[in-house]
Amino acid sequence: MKRAFKNLVKNRYTNGRQAQKYGASGSRSLEKSPTGIRGLDEITFGGLPKGRPTLICGTAGCGKTLMGVEFLVHGAMEYGEPGVLIAFEETEEELTKNVASLGYDLKDLVARKKLLIDYIHIERSEIEEAGEYDLEGLFIRLGSAIDAIGAKRVVLDTIEAIFSGFPNVNILRAELRRLFRWLKDKGVTAVITGERGEGTLTRHGLEEYVSDCVILLDHRVEEQISTRRLRVVKYRGSTHGTNEYPFLIDKDGISVLPVTSLGLDHKVSSERIPSGVPRLDGMLGGGYYRGSSILISGTAGTGKSSLAAHFAAAVCRTGERCLYLASEESPQQIMRNMRSIGIDLGPWVKKGILKFDAERPTLYGLEMHLLRMHKLVTGFNPHAVILDPITNYISLGDDREVKAMLIRLIDFLKTKGITGLLTTLTHGDAVAEGTTVGVSSLIDTWLLLRDVENNGERNRGLYVIKSRGMAHSNQVREFLLTAKGAELLDLYVGSEGVLTGSARAAQEAKENAAAALRRQEIERKQRELGQKRKALEAQIAALRAAHDVESQELEMGLAEERLREERLAADRVEMARIRRADVGNGGKAGKNNRKGARA
């Protein structure tokens, strides 16, 4: 444990910044000399092998000399290691001029004795061979240069030039072997450049002598787009990245892009950031997640850039920095167009928190773009990055390459906690819910803008296709671009399908009319009902009246009948009295009377 710590401390001293980052894993056994070239120290886990020669080989114009010069300049300026540059091809003036454009002041370094440039000129035509010789002169010259400034680093650019000066290859080979041995004994970290040969790494087989570390530079042109690539062919005694890494030479010198598998362990944030369109925030339940990746896909003219600009403005409004990588329009054009929908990006640009970078994708290869983005992001350190659109990169490689690039870009942004918004153009005939490069699986929030066509007009609809980790609306919204910015409206969804635009307005009017009609109808029905009820009531009253009359009549009849009955009874009594019937027997006596009378 203690020992490991010691090792770590030691490495911090010897290998500089990069070694700290990677711990001691790659450099426990070998001390390293950091190159200070962005990315290269990461690939080699700390730099070139300290005190040993390294061969940098490649075709003409691939950046060998520059890499050597950078190794020396960074060593002199950042790591306190003076360096000697033995130039066989360019004079001191030429070299100084060449690298001045990269911001390196070689003259100043030379004056401060941090750097010594020695131009060795070999003119074949002046030299005649007559007998045995060796290259002690070169050794002495190199030795005196190293001693003059106490150099720790040496660059020989390019030692192969001596092959043209001295015809006796056998002597040369022996001497080269001696030279590299001698450099090792001197304890200087040497860089030897060599021209790429046919089927071999270098034209004269330098790799035979320099076996500790070999870096191959390559400059390929594919479909008229050039890409520089770097590969660590061999690194004795150390682990190293084995892939081909793209590298870039620009105004800041060389930067290499380490294509590391970044893994999926980036921090996540549950903080929401506004999308710039309030109703969209509503649909997403509060906005995008910070550090998430957002894809806006849609056919041409559906308002992808407008939505992106809204986001840019929203980011800037909170005072955060936003990087807008445009690959279709110039910054001026974007700003003008966005002004027409009420977004003025100008002030943010002036304030320096919004940065545009517009570049035609066809200008570089994919790797270069990625590298450039890396550099821009690292330099500007934005909170959000907009890539508008990613579709244009497809012309630069096949789908797999583009996807790989985007994965790396998204991963890179995620590890940095930067919110990334990408737009992609889908073609009308393609599947609307497919992205042309199939990046959807990498995306956290995917918005689809789609033309809804009917009634001879196209209107925009916005769908939230997915949004990881947030409750989001599943409704389609109509997306309107007004002079005050983007607006989202509820769609008309009815029996006749989804309607937008004027069709929606017409449909709404139609609906209103229909509603009014229905209202009238109801009123009419209600009135009718009232009338019916009234009629019924009247009928009831009439019936009741009739009934009253009838019952009265019936009762009258009844009374009459009763009266007649009484009269009849009275008449019978009267009759009996008149017939003198037994009063006591009444009717019986009468019968008996009739019997008795017969008897």
């Binding site: 020695d118 060795i120 000129h121 070999i122 003119e123 002046e126 030299i127 005649e128 061979e129 007559a130 007998g131 045995e132 010789y133 060796d134 290259l135 002690e136 002169g137 070169l138 002495i140 010259r141 030795g143 005196s144 001596i162 000066g165 001295f166």
Partner: protein
């Protein structure tokens, strides 16, 4: 054409002394051989119209820069112009004579 050039190049040598510089690095066998070989050739072909400067780079490393000396030993003919360089221990007399343009002069 070739003859004319040759005459031109060699002519001043008839009057002017030859300045020859021999670069060495310490008293190595090769250096000593080179010096004795040079001496012999000069005595034979240039008589007393020559001057030999021996420069030891171990003592004065800076002096090697002007003549771009890498190989040791190297013989440089400073005068007459143009500058000629011959590397090696000068054991191949024929090559030295050709290299110094002496052979042609002798023949003519």
């Amino acid at each position: 054409m070739n003859a004319a050039k040759r005459v031109k190049a060699v002519k001043p040598a008839n009057d002017d002394p030859w300045v020859l510089r021999l670069y060495v690095a310490g008293q190595t066998p090769k250096s000593l051989t080179a010096f004795s070989n040079l001496k012999k050739i000069c005595e034979e072909y240039l008589e007393d119209r020559y001057r030999i400067e021996v420069i030891d780079l171990l003592e004065n490393p800076q002096l090697g820069r002007g003549d771009q000396i890498l190989a040791i030993p190297t013989l440089v003919r400073n005068l007459p112009v143009p500058i000629k360089k011959i590397i090696g221990d000068l054991s191949n007399t024929e090559k030295v004579l050709v290299g110094l343009d002496i052979r042609q002069r002798v023949r003519s």
